[in-house]
């Protein structure tokens, strides 16, 4: 039945691929997040909107693309940037159509059958859970990388078809340029390079001896890397997000400081991600088998995301099915189209096994929950394998078409393609099974969470946060939506760097807008501070060490506060730069600015010896200038500390996240489920307080609301009875952001 593909059969169906991409885009738009989301989404949306610099390596190409997306004349800013993710993934799906069709042309002679198989590849790759879920909110830069992978894949396939053709050299030079350009979106851009090199080596090895071509490719690659120039130029203007501060300019841009050693050093530190201090590859953070197990854990998610573990058997069966189909597809690819296999096979290997080895992750946040006593990633890292799952889907589609062919041929003397086509319905299983979990339509909870926590802080207050989820959404709310810009957010993980405190000093003081703030703050006078949040100069700031070798308790005295800072209660056993700066800010602002610590930092106030001064007001804990005494309104709650009942009750009435969580009816990302837990905990403790104060109706209403949130987020098992001693959320820091954090003594 197999005949060599004719020229007509090899002609790509660009129109059909385009229509398929549009179909995928329609699916993504239907399930698109209207606003921001947890983890890095807010950081990247804010960076795009403000043309800022997100965390290293700074992703300049993404920022430029995101900024252009943010300029679109419809929808909200977050929606527009989310559309960028959707468009990139839809483009990738269209290209996977072309790649699959090209492979199928070698052994399927019926045109519509080839196209049906190609559509299957596009749909499967687009609806694999992680691809879909990352395509409906711009959480990371990985969908842009996926688009680059797909474009490079198609160009490589074209080159393999005709390595001596008229355009062959230009294709290779273009590929080199795109690999360089892709790197400026994310270092993963280089992951496609080994596959291209393998294809060239196998298909036409003498290409590597053509030095003029190689020189052109190297130049093109270097040209592709030039968007990194964006970073020092933009950083010199000190945008709100200026992570790594890759500039030597302190006040304004100038030629001398832009072309200075400091700029080069800081830029290279950003590009090389020095801040993260990744361990040596030989120093495995978990056994390689466990790291492969992590890939498999997330592979299971792709075909049926089961966030609450209620369909484990079905999920396992589907994972086995798609693993088998993918292997079959790989074998068929090898046997039928060796030319493109020598690209695609190494690509799958690189973005799967090689990436697992290179990333060297700890155990996944949700992986193998029965394994205890091991270090875990702070969140699930399935997004790092988005390219793996996307490419695997193409092979799974090829495997399914191979199965279809067997069934069709056995059904009659001539293949009965149409009669046996229902077998392709297997390829729609992820579309159906993942819809609820992958869709982010109507997700407003993160935006509301950001507003709620900012509104927990009195005008002109300082809010100390601990990680990603209690910081990035606040950046988004302030810088994109203009919410409560009067509040200064200071995150401890970044206070350990040298550049972040300098940025805090530069931050202007914004006027509090009483009409947009909570009712609890109306009708009072809020004097606007006139001095920066720290009295230290930039030079003094830079002189603060990474940590102080202090082993004995020290007394911190300021105004009415006498706090004993016991290093043994601090996370690292010694005060870090961040701890010193937090105390400095407290010292400089007592009586000037209200000082708060986010409740997501768990016991940070206590670890600084401030427990007797910590007053919970809504979602934040205010550091009182005098020791607190329990009374009717200030209630001492075991496990929580002092609670300002009237203020917290008033704030609770205006919080938007509980309704948003209940409307959504789920909280798929389990590592951040501490956020809804915080709302439930707050509601339950308020209910207790109301009950004690004889407001039984209100208590019942409050408790019901808290339980509704817990049920919607599937965390009711975290709350047994009306106890307030509940697990508080981890704010989730993606990585230690500090430079040279001390080893735990």
């Amino acid at each position: 039945m197999t005949t060599p593909a004719t020229a007509a059969e090899l002609r790509p169906s660009y129109r059909a691929a385009g229509l398929t991409a549009l179909g995928v885009l329609a699916l993504y738009v239907a399930t698109l997040a209207p606003s921001t989301a947890m983890w890095d989404a807010s950081e990247y949306i804010t960076a795009a909107y403000t043309l800022g610099i997100p965390h290293p390596p700074g992703n300049p190409l993404f920022v430029l693309l995101g900024r252009v997306a943010a300029l679109l004349p419809f929808g909200g800013v977050a929606y527009r940037v989310n559309l960028l993710a959707a468009a990139c993934s839809a483009l990738s799906a269209g290209i996977w159509f072309l790649v699959a069709e090209r492979v199928l042309a070698q052994w399927i002679t019926v045109g519509w059958v080839r196209r049906a198989g190609a559509v299957l590849a596009a749909v499967l790759s687009a609806t694999a859970f992680t691809v879909w879920n990352q395509s409906v909110v711009n959480e990371k830069v990985y969908t842009v990388s996926l688009a680059f992978f797909a474009v490079v894949s198609w160009l490589t396939v074209l080159w393999c078809d005709d390595p001596d053709g008229r355009r062959a050299d230009r294709i290779l030079v273009l590929i080199a340029y795109l690999i360089g350009l892709g790197y400026t979106n994310h270092p993963a851009g280089f992951l496609v390079a080994p596959a291209v090199a393998t294809a060239v080596l196998v298909r036409r090895p003498r290409t590597l001896l053509r030095w003029r071509l190689i020189a052109s490719a190297v130049l093109a690659l270097a040209l592709g890397l030039t968007p990194f120039a964006f970073e020092p130029i933009r950083a010199a203007h000190h945008p709100t997000l200026n992570e790594g501060e890759p500039t030597g300019c302190t006040d304004r841009i100038a030629v001398a400081c832009t072309f200075s050693d400091t700029t080069v050093r800081r830029l290279m530190a950003n590009v090389n991600r020095d801040q993260y201090g990744k361990p040596n590859l030989s120093d495995r953070q978990a056994p390689f088998s466990a790291q492969l197990g992590m890939w498999w854990w997330y592979f299971r998610w792709q075909w049926l995301r089961d966030p609450h573990g209620t369909q484990g058997a079905l999920q396992g069966a589907l994972a086995a099915l798609f693993l088998g189909l993918g292997i079959a597809g790989g074998v068929v690819h090898w046997r039928r189209d060796r030319a493109s296999f020598w690209f695609f096979g190494p690509l799958v290997f690189t973005v799967t096994f090689a990436l697992v080895y290179y990333m060297n992750f700890k155990y996944g946040a949700s992986q193998s929950p029965d394994v205890v006593g091991v270090e875990r990633e702070v969140r699930d890292r399935d997004y790092f394998y988005l390219w793996s799952f996307s490419a695997w889907s193409v092979w799974a589609a090829l495997g399914l078409v191979a199965l279809w062919r067997v069934v069709a041929e056995r059904a009659g003397r001539t293949p009965r393609w149409m009669a046996t086509a229902p077998i392709l319905a297997f390829g729609l299983l992820p579309l159906v099974g993942n819809w609820r979990a992958a869709s982010r339509a109507g997700e407003w909870a993160t935006r509301e969470w950001a507003r709620d926590i900012l509104n927990s802080v009195e005008p002109y207050g300082i809010l100390i946060t601990g990680g990603d989820n209690d910081t990035f959404p606040l950046w988004y709310a302030q810088e994109v939506e203009g919410v409560r810009r009067d509040v200064t957010v200071a995150v401890t993980s970044l206070l350990n760097t040298d550049w972040y405190p300098r940025g805090l000093l530069r931050r202007p003081i914004y006027k509090y807008d009483e009409s947009a703030g909570p009712a609890a703050y109306r009708g009072r006078s809020w004097p606007m501070p006139t001095r920066p949040i720290m009295t230290l100069s930039k030079a003094q700031l830079d002189a603060i060490p990474d940590y102080v070798e202090l082993r004995e308790p020290q007394l911190f005295e300021q105004g009415g506060i006498r706090a004993v800072v016991d290093p043994r209660r601090l996370e690292f056993g010694v005060p870090l730069r961040s701890d010193i700066l937090v105390l400095q800010m407290l010292k400089d602002n007592l009586g000037v600015r209200p000082f708060y610590i986010s409740r997501t930092t768990a016991s940070y106030a206590e670890s600084l010896g401030l427990g007797a001064y910590a007053l919970v007001q809504g979602l934040a804990t205010r550091v009182s200038p005098v020791a607190l005494v329990a009374n009717r309104d200030t209630v001492a709650v075991p496990g929580l500390g002092f609670l300002d009942v009237p203020r917290t009750t008033a704030l609770w009435r205006e919080y938007g996240a509980p309704a948003a969580i209940i409307r959504r009816g789920d909280w798929v990302d389990r590592p951040s489920a501490g956020i809804p837990a915080l709302y439930t905990a707050t509601a339950l403790v308020l209910a207790q307080a109301a009950e004690l104060q004889g407001r039984a109706d209100e208590a019942e209403k409050m408790r019901g609301r808290g339980i509704d949130v817990a049920e919607a987020a599937h965390i009711t098992e975290w709350f047994v009875g009306p106890s307030t001693d509940v697990p508080l959320p981890a704010s989730g820091s993606d990585a230690p952001r500090g430079t040279a954090l001390p080893a735990r003594p």
């Binding site: 043309l51 900024r67 050299d169 230009r170 030079v173 340029y177 003029r212 968007p227 130029i233």
Partner: protein, 57 residues
């Protein structure tokens, strides 16, 4: 089959000039603090015109 060195045609030259011009405009505007023209010019330059310049006859 050995090939001769590719000589850029008028379309490729036009695309190169346009790409270079737009990228230069983008960086100049960026250095001046621009946040609208700069990203648009740089994106068109890097993502559209340079690939066109490298691929065009």
């Amino acid at each position: 089959m050995p090939r001769t060195t590719h000589v850029a045609g008028p379309r490729a030259i036009a695309a190169r000039v346009a790409a270079g011009t737009l990228i230069a405009i983008g960086y100049i505007d960026l250095a001046r603090g621009g946040t609208v023209i700069a990203p648009v010019a740089l994106v068109i330059g890097y993502v559209v015109l340079v690939p066109l310049a490298l691929f065009a006859d």
